[in-house]
């Protein structure tokens, strides 16, 4: 059996860190979804892609830019014109969706091993994220389910709000350790728990 290794290596240290004497402001964790998939529709085939996504995942994705939804095991949000990022706790979503979509309607790219998902949650989550990204993280501007594609320095980050004070960040796996370290550093002042 092949051992699954974390891309974070020894940077992943469970426990409380930073200024946590009065409690931790955020929790940082690794959801490790089995599938991370980018799906793109050819121009004019958005409805076919949305239909295939709904048949395969049950996710009914809103069509406005950055619109998305989260269910128990699955999530999806818009990351660009005609493009969505989808996750599933189970492996194999790319193959299933590719078969359901058909190449005449669009493309499905399996990024499960190319991205790392990082979850940030807690009452100071908006505060910590606002240090890194020039986005409005208030829930009026960034409602639950919706997503944004942005970057921190040159590290592309796709961010979905999955709860009132919970976000999932998807970064390139090769940059995940570096990004994790800087995220933890930024969370030190509010105290953070890794788990």
């Amino acid at each position: 059996m092949v051992e699954q290794m974390s891309p974070l290596g020894d940077a992943y240290v469970p426990g409380s860190h930073g200024n946590f004497a009065d409690g931790t402001g955020v929790k940082i964790s690794l959801p490790q979804p089995g599938s991370i998939v980018e799906a793109t529709a050819w121009p004019g085939r958005e409805a076919a892609l949305a239909g295939a996504i709904e048949r395969v995942t049950g996710l009914s994705l809103p069509h406005h830019p950055g619109g998305g939804v989260v269910t128990g095991d699955r999530s999806g949000f818009g990351i660009g014109p005609r493009k969505w990022l989808l996750t599933d706790a189970a492996e194999g979503l790319a193959e299933t969706l590719r078969d359901a979509l058909g190449i005449e309607n669009g493309t499905v790219t399996d990024l499960s091993h190319g991205r790392t998902a990082i979850r940030l949650e807690g009452e100071r989550a908006e505060w910590v994220l606002a240090k890194f990204f020039a986005l409005d993280f208030s829930s009026d501007a960034f409602p639950v389910g919706s997503g944004r594609a942005t970057m921190h320095h040159d590290i592309l980050a796709q961010i979905q709000r999955t709860g009132p004070s919970r976000f999932n960040l998807y970064v390139f796996r090769t940059f995940a350790r570096s990004f994790w370290r800087v995220l933890c550093h930024g969370a030190e002042e509010v105290g953070y728990e890794v788990r």
């Binding site: 830019p65 990351i79 660009g80 014109p81 493009k83 944004r148 594609a149 942005t150 970057m151 592309l156």
Partner: protein, 87 residues
């Protein structure tokens, strides 16, 4: 400088990559007119004022956009999808 991406909304210019002058028209690919190709590849009018140019939102949705930017003031008067389709 902020560029209002048609998909993402206003974002810092650091998320965008300049892709060049959007006023040029490519000669017929079958043409061997050296003067026309020279003009297309090398000649730029270096406008002072509103300028039509390609940018890519590389640090965001990755869409290519056509921006009209005043090269004197950096005021941006228009941003539209480069391929002209809906967002």
């Amino acid at each position: 400088m902020l560029i209002s991406c048609p998909y993402c909304g206003p974002r810092d210019v650091s998320e965008f990559t300049y892709q060049g002058d959007a006023t040029r028209t490519r000669p017929d690919p079958a043409s061997a007119d050296a003067a026309a190709w020279h003009e297309y590849v090398y000649e730029r009018s270096n406008e002072a004022g509103p300028h039509r140019e390609f940018w890519q939102h590389a640090g965001g949705c990755r869409a290519h956009v056509v921006v009209i930017r005043n090269t004197v003031t950096h005021e941006i008067s228009s941003v539209a999808p480069a391929r002209g389709d809906r967002i």
